[in-house]
Symmetry: C2
Subunit: 421 residues, 2 copies
């Protein structure tokens, strides 16, 4: 499609989403929940069009010689569709994040001033490969009263179109505007550029995928972006740590799963407990074949460890690998984390209350933890009920972002004829 024609089509799509956003925002909780339950029901039924579309995507990927695991990520099996349906039902069951009027106070002028929680309007989401994401994003949009414009990976275009057709049908059956959830029908990279600049149509853009996608969006975007960059998470074993507990927690933080962003990548240990702690950890992890990248001082306590370089302190391995550094005190630990960390999630292991409080206050990260595994940094573990993403930004939403992150507030003034003096 010629560039100009594509932009024209995207502008029309943006206007339709924006127009639907107002109707969706004003809709009842019941209607939005009904759309979600209708969508869940549709996902549980046989859908020949969807099955065909998905088979075509899978066949095309195989023909292009994509690796088997990548092809598998495209497949919408009955089990995956059932999980998506269950997700819609769970989101329907959550409390409505919009509409609450709070914090009203009567001012000396006589007016009552408070706030109402409202949808953002319309959000955009750019994601890669897995078609599941289009249902996850659409269901969060519907629940939060936001329109959304989705742009999925090219390999899953047919599947995404079939899934979004089900979404639009459910919206219509619930009396809601079908244009509230839109899929960009083009796989042209220029469409991502358009999303980045669509300040008229989009209130928030959420890139979900690899680092290069997120960096490109962050660089180009004129619209606000919810971005999730690195998770270089630390666990710090303080001199006053309960070492039994530290062993259990650090083990979980690193090895319960090594690929998530909230897995610990760097271990700081107070010098005075290194001899008692590190050899036991090395023994615990020997069967798991953990690679230690250790500072000079910690090397003697870790048989077989490799020598760490400066680059290790900033590295997000997402692998069976961990950097280890001894520190002389709490100050040094905090300074190291604030310098080399990614402000994602960091934990202290200690029984010293003052140290714990200082760590919580002074470590500049989205999540700070005392005596707990960094793996807990997650929307579901935090009780958000749903997660649209994890933010490594400081403004608007920080850390795990749930439905509330897709809302904002407006000020509401209730008067009875008051005027300003």
């Amino acid at each position: 499609m010629p560039a100009e024609e594509l932009i024209e089509e995207l502008e029309a799509l943006g206007r339709a989403a924006r127009a639907s956003a107002a109707r969706l925002a004003a809709s009842s909780t019941a209607a939005r929940n009904q759309a979600l339950l209708l969508l869940a029901a549709a996902l549980r039924q046989p859908q020949p069009t969807l099955a065909e579309a998905n088979a075509a995507d899978v066949a095309a990927a195989q023909a292009r010689g994509l690796d088997a695991p990548l092809v598998d990520r495209l497949r919408l099996t009955p089990a995956i569709l059932a999980t998506l349906a269950q997700g819609c039902e769970q989101i329907a069951a959550l409390p409505d994040p919009v509409g609450a009027m709070t914090n009203f106070q009567r001012r000396p002028s006589g007016i009552q001033v408070g706030q109402m929680r409202v949808p953002l309007g319309c959000f955009g989401m750019v994601f890669e490969s897995r078609p599941n994401v289009s249902i996850e994003a659409a269901s969060l949009a519907i629940k939060s009263g936001n329109a959304c414009i989705l742009r999925g990976g090219s390999e899953a275009l047919a599947s995404n179109q079939a899934l979004i057709a089900l979404v639009q049908q459910s919206l219509e059956q619930a009396g809601l505007p079908r244009a509230a959830v839109q899929l960009i029908p083009s796989t042209d990279r220029a469409a991502v550029g358009w999303l980045c600049r669509a300040t008229e149509h989009i209130d928030l853009l959420i890139p979900r995928g690899g680092k290069s996608l997120i960096e490109r969006v962050a660089l180009e975007a004129k619209v606000p972006v919810l971005k999730h960059l690195d998770g270089n998470c630390h666990s710090y074993v303080d001199e006053f740590a309960d070492l039994e507990m530290a062993l259990k927690v650090v083990d979980n933080a690193k090895t319960q799963k090594v690929s998530p962003c909230n897995a610990t990548e760097s271990l700081l240990v107070h010098r005075t407990v290194a001899a008692a702690f590190l050899p036991r950890l090395a023994a615990l992890w020997a069967p798991k074949k953990l690679v230690f990248r250790a500072c000079l001082e910690s090397l003697p306590f870790l048989p077989g460890a490799e020598s760490a370089t400066e680059a290790d302190w900033a590295e997000e391995y997402l692998d069976y690998k961990i950097s280890v550094k001894l520190v002389g005190d709490l100050d040094e630990a905090i300074a190291h984390i604030n310098r080399y960390g990614s402000h994602h999630t960091d934990a202290i292991l200690t029984q010293h209350h003052g140290h714990a409080m200082r760590f919580v206050r002074e470590v500049d990260s989205a999540s700070v933890m005392i005596n707990a595994s960094t793996r807990f940094a997650d929307g579901f573990e935090y009780g958000l009920g749903a997660e649209i993403g994890i933010s490594t930004d400081k403004l608007h939403a920080r850390g795990p972002v749930g439905l509330e992150g897709l809302t904002t507030y407006k000020w509401v003034v209730l008067g009875e004829g008051q005027v300003r003096q």
Copy 2:
């Protein structure tokens, strides 16, 4: 100064502010309040260096032939300094916006999850002419535990330097890092460009001044911006309005002061009350020489009115001028406001509860009001105690922004050795 040297100097200044930010964030409420009270005391004492610097700025402005009102905006009279001192004292008396730990809940895993309010880190502010703003910004930074980097107008450079010297002296006397409040000593426009791109050093940039400054910053910025664009505010007189009340409120909303952004610029009137309302309003405003820009239908009710064009509906006059349009129902009023307004502040005059609730819910503005003057949209009137600006953005902070807008939160997890299953 050569461009490269300037950037090097700004980078050093940014690093110093960033380093101080951590110390300021960890400082006690008492120390920050003490710095504010010391600053207030200094501003109330004769300060020969400041007086000389200000006299030099004023003389230079006069020599350049600046208009008298612009020269007057530079003057730091004893009365203005006393007002600034009082502002610092008032800010010291406000509750500390940082440190509160809230919303803790015990999760099924056993961890306690909650949030702690923390400073953003370091904000930048770009402002024009009046040197007062440097003290206002510095005092809000100190109270909220943020470092700040200020860039004032070139005409007030000497005055701003003398004022910030007092701020830094007060910080030092209170045991806080003096580098936490920085003034960019260059009037080179490249310094604004640097602030826009200083993602390493700055967490939020606040442009305060004319529309062209704000648009430039919004366009160039890679750092998040708190921006305040137009205030095209509406008052809508519904068919169920109390017309006596409407007359009083609309009069105040338009004429109590015409230059602020929260003054009403456009009046919508339900067709059925136009004949009863508009002639009385015209009579009330005849002595004030209001210019009406009226739609064809409302012209007959407004003797001497001019005919409105499409452009009037989007205009922010900031003058004794108002556009008037008749509408057929509430839907039309809401649609008009959402289409032509600037999402700043809009009010309905009505005694119909359902209409009021729909207006509040469906008008997509930072402030929505029932039976109150749009002039109330203000941080002090809303009870924020201080105002760093008004945001026309939707994310992070919306409408009047107080100290809380200079903070964010972190997630805090209190564990006792819990691990993820």
